[in-house]
């Protein structure tokens, strides 16, 4: 991948005895938005800060636009201010002692652009984030959402080649977060700017990314498109962390019809599951709770009797806890499919949705 904007290879970051990032590698193509997703302490923010130059890695290489900004072997470490990247911080980092205009103009003035050009660029980006009316406002007088917009405007004002986002939406309330998510994606598409985005919110990661990198314990668990990650998790961690999934223990018994595999769950029940490249010794099947029906589907190979144990109404969906031969199963159905607690149902799902881990 020679044309990659960001290329990270063999990256290791250690603090004393703690290894925060443990030998990871990925590449981001021009215009792509890639998300680092994982629980807190998984090394995603450390990775992002290493790319920005705010953290000094222990080993590996980081290339931006083809040239190394960090290389352990060449003993090269370009300081943050010389990397030409830009970043939106979790706390927004809006300077309270400046006006909105001065905040946004900072990166342009550092680069000693003529006054007229500074003004023109600031107005352009404030327009993009719909904050033109606030230019002369002191930055300390902004709401959280407005600060967020100014932080984005400041980050894109000097046309950086790469934009980094460090959990930019985590301090907003749920509704605003959903709106800003759409706007950020819109802006990123329009400017066609290569972006690396860090979040611990799996929903956010799936919604805005071209590709998602799931991290855990300093390592990469899986890299793929949002659909890939959701439908074909490659590890128990990914299945569990992204979306809601049931993990069914058991073992592969043999070949089924149409290339499926026969999987015997604990308790003796046999299921047809999706074929897999993974070795046959795998002992867990992941099944998304949204992919389980509670009435028999016409062409389903997997149909098992069950009984509603508990019903929880969430509004956008209903979550059922269903007793079935392999223990308990979490099932999410639209609020139109209402079953009483204690009623008998048929649990039914496609082999393609049973992913062997």
């Amino acid at each position: 991948m020679n044309q990659a904007r960001i290329e990270v290879s063999d990256l290791i970051v250690r603090y004393g005895d703690v290894t925060a990032v443990d030998n990871i590698a990925f590449a981001i193509a021009p215009g792509e938005l890639v998300t680092l997703l994982g629980p807190s302490g998984c090394g995603k923010t450390t990775t992002l800060r290493s790319v920005a130059g705010l953290e000094t890695p222990t080993g590996g290489t980081i290339r931006l636009n083809g040239s190394a900004v960090y290389s352990a072997r060449e003993r090269r470490n370009v300081p943050a201010e010389k990397r030409g990247v830009s970043m939106v911080f979790q706390s927004y980092a809006i300077w309270p002692h400046m006006t909105v205009f001065d905040n946004v103009a900072y990166g342009l003035r550092v680069r000693k652009l003529p006054q007229a050009e500074v003004r023109q660029n600031v107005e352009r980006v404030l327009d993009l984030v719909q904050m033109q009316a606030f230019a002369d406002r002191p930055a300390s007088k902004l709401s959280g959402g407005q600060q967020q917009r100014v932080a984005v405007a400041r980050a894109i004002a000097f046309s950086p080649s790469v934009l980094l986002f460090d959990e930019p939406l985590s301090n907003l309330d749920a509704k605003l977060r959903a709106e800003m998510r759409v706007e950020l994606r819109e802006l990123q598409r329009r400017l066609d700017i290569t972006s690396l985005y860090v979040t611990h919110d799996q929903e956010e990661a799936l919604a805005i990314s071209d590709r998602v990198i799931v991290m855990n314990g300093g390592r990469i668990e899986q890299i793929g498109t949002p659909e890939d990650i959701y439908n074909r998790p490659q590890s128990r961690f990914v299945a569990d962390f992204v979306g809601s999934a049931n993990l069914i223990a058991g073992k592969v018994r043999g070949q089924g019809a149409n290339g499926t595999l026969i999987f015997e769950a604990e308790g003796g029940m046999e299921l047809e599951v999706a074929p897999s490249d993974a070795p046959r010794e795998r002992t867990v099947v992941a099944l998304r709770s949204s992919y389980v029906h509670l009435v028999r589907m016409p062409d389903s190979h997997n149909a098992v009797p069950g009984r509603i144990h508990r019903r929880m109404f969430h509004g956008d969906f209903i979550q059922y806890v269903v007793d079935w031969p392999a223990g308990q199963l979490i099932v999410r159905r639209p609020p139109t499919e209402l079953f009483e607690e204690g009623s008998e149902v048929t649990v039914s799902f496609l082999p393609a949705h049973c992913v062997l881990l």
Binding site: N77, E81, S86, W95, Y106, P138, R154
Partner: protein, 560 residues
């Protein structure tokens, strides 16, 4: 790949740390060196080393006993004052508590020197204003002689009472009121709750305040100097001073005494910190709670009287006495004998060496605080932000002067700079350098509290936007630290105007400063003149505070 070019940051950071570290360690090294000198006391480097100076300390057992006596009485009184005030002002519902709490800062601004002068005016034998009234009623002798151990202890207790108040009320405020409420809900009465819950939770705070005040007392100088010297009553600090006056000056003995005093103080202060850290229960956090107020009913009036009484006795009465005296020809409260005059103020501002002393003090205070905040600002950033290796050690060294009694540090500075080939002894340059050194901990602590509040991402963002270190410090860091820098400027200014312990050793005939000048005037000429000088010094401080506050308000008002 060649090494990257050296950046300003790589030059400035080690330079500032090494410079400040050297300023602190250099005089202490000299102090140790002098204390081991058993040959000719004025020779440098010493011709002979030994421990005789330390062994002979037992000869000064009387000063040691005096110090312990004064310190114990003052500590007990100060903790009683502090505890009472803290309890009344944080836990009861007496009227006007907020205002009283703000007024509690005032005794601290009085300083032991002003307090000692004022109480000398009030309770000096025969001439003291209160003693005059006492005698005029026909009573025999004086009501109280302030030139005594009890007098020194009394003046110091009024001053340290505020210190104890701050520490104890902090402990009381940081206690979660639900701890007491749950005791009440579970059926315990007021008294049982106070004894079983409140007292054990506050005890570590009281204990550490006690130890802290005691340690400060051991090293205190001004009150013992003003009130002890006339009656030939010596404590360790005044004994050190005396040793340097003898001919030839016995620097070895003074240094050994100073180092021993410093050792004892360091142990006590460490003990105070240990008690606060390990004796405190985890439920007392840094978080400030709104303490539950106790309805004290009719008791509120006596309690209100106690609270105001402390402020009147510690601030109003002494200031009034100084004010009255400064306008009189002879200090008196007998109406028929009063003769009012402005002569004292005129003399204070004109007199050969006194007028210049005021000017010198102002020049020193303004330049030390102005240069100091910039250097200490960078230093605070380096220590608490830069992640530079060795920052922890640097912090420890810079905070060192805090634990050394000012007078002892002054002795070290004197000995160190006399023996340096640079001819700055006896000039304002040396005083400025000395002030900067001893006020490093004060400035660092003040600015550090602001540095720690500034979100690191504000600076990181500047870097990512393309700013180099110097540009970032100038446009982001320093403006954000402004409240801390202003506060530090003010504190260093005030401390410089009042500095006594170091100045008394380092000032020369052409570099007189105000605090030693006041003391000299007190010991050699009139109390009326001294009162005028002390009031001018106090007024200078108040004017500076007022100007800076209105300035600060205008600056913050403009940005809002």
């Amino acid at each position: 790949m060649r090494l990257p070019a050296i950046t300003p940051r790589q030059i400035v950071m080690p330079l500032v740390v090494l410079l400040c570290g050297a300023l602190v360690l250099y005089p202490i090294g000299f102090l140790i060196n002098a204390s081991l000198n058993v040959g000719d006391p004025s020779a440098f480097p010493p011709e002979e080393y030994g421990l005789d100076n330390f062994v002979n300390l037992t000869d000064d057992y009387r000063a040691l006993a005096n110090t312990l006596l004064v310190s114990c009485i003052a500590t007990v009184l100060a903790v009683i004052f502090g505890f009472l005030q803290a309890w009344i002002l944080t836990r009861t519902n007496i009227p006007g508590r907020q205002r009283l709490e703000r007024l509690m800062e005032l005794p601290y601004y009085m300083t032991p020197l002003i307090g000692a002068l004022a109480w000398g005016v009030l309770l000096g034998p025969k001439t003291g204003l209160i003693n005059q009234v006492w005698r005029s009623t026909g009573a025999p002798g004086d009501l109280f002689n302030i030139y005594s151990a009890y007098g020194i202890a009394w003046v110091m207790a009024l001053f340290e009472g505020t210190v104890a108040f701050v520490m104890i009320s902090a402990a009381m405020k940081s206690m979660d009121p639900s701890l007491e409420e749950s005791s009440r809900v579970l059926g315990a009465g007021k008294l049982r709750t106070a004894l079983r819950i409140t007292l054990p939770l506050v005890a570590p705070g009281v204990l550490s305040a006690t130890i802290f005040v005691f340690a400060e007392m051991l090293g205190s100088f001004a009150a013992a100097f003003v009130l002890g010297i006339p009656g030939r009553f010596y404590v360790v600090t005044t004994q050190i001073w005396q040793a340097t006056l003898s001919f030839p000056p016995d620097y070895g003995r003074a240094a050994a005494m100073g180092l021993s005093l410093f050792g004892v103080m360091l142990i006590t202060l460490t003990l105070a910190r240990f008690v606060l850290k390990h004796g405190t229960y985890t439920t007392i956090t840094g978080k400030a709670f709104r303490p539950r107020e106790m309805d004290v009913g009719a008791m509120r009036w006596p309690l209100l009287a106690i609270a105001w009484g402390y402020i009147i006795v510690a601030v109003v009465l002494p200031l009034a006495a100084l004010l009255l005296t400064s306008f009189e020809r002879f200090a008196t409260v007998i109406l028929s004998q009063m003769r009012f005059t402005f002569a004292n103020y005129e003399t204070a501002l004109q007199m050969g060496s006194v007028g210049p002393a005021f000017v010198n003090s102002l020049i020193l205070a303004i330049s030390v605080s102005s240069i100091g905040v910039v250097v200490i600002g960078v230093l605070a950033w380096i220590i608490y932000r830069s992640r530079m290796p060795g920052a922890g050690v640097a912090e420890y060294v810079i905070m060192f002067p805090q634990a050394v009694p000012r007078l002892v540090f002054g002795l070290g500075l004197l000995w160190a700079w006399i023996n340096l080939p640079i001819p700055i002894y006896g000039t304002l340059w040396l005083l400025g350098l000395a002030y900067f050194t001893v006020f490093l901990p004060l400035g660092l602590r003040t600015i550090a509290s602001v540095v720690l509040q500034v979100d690191p991402s504000l600076e990181e963002c500047a870097r990512v936007c393309g700013a180099g270190w110097v540009y970032q410090m100038r446009t982001v860091t320093m403006p954000l630290l402004r409240p801390g820098l202003v506060a530090a400027w003010l504190l260093i200014f005030i401390a410089s105007v009042r500095e006594l312990g170091v100045s008394i050793f380092l000032m020369g005939p052409n570099s007189k400063v105000i605090a030693p000048a006041i003391v000299n005037s007190w010991l050699s000429s009139s109390s009326e003149l001294s009162a005028a000088m002390a009031l001018i010094q106090t007024a200078t401080v108040f004017v500076a505070v007022a100007v800076l506050f209105s300035l600060a308000r205008r600056v913050t008002g403009a940005t809002q």
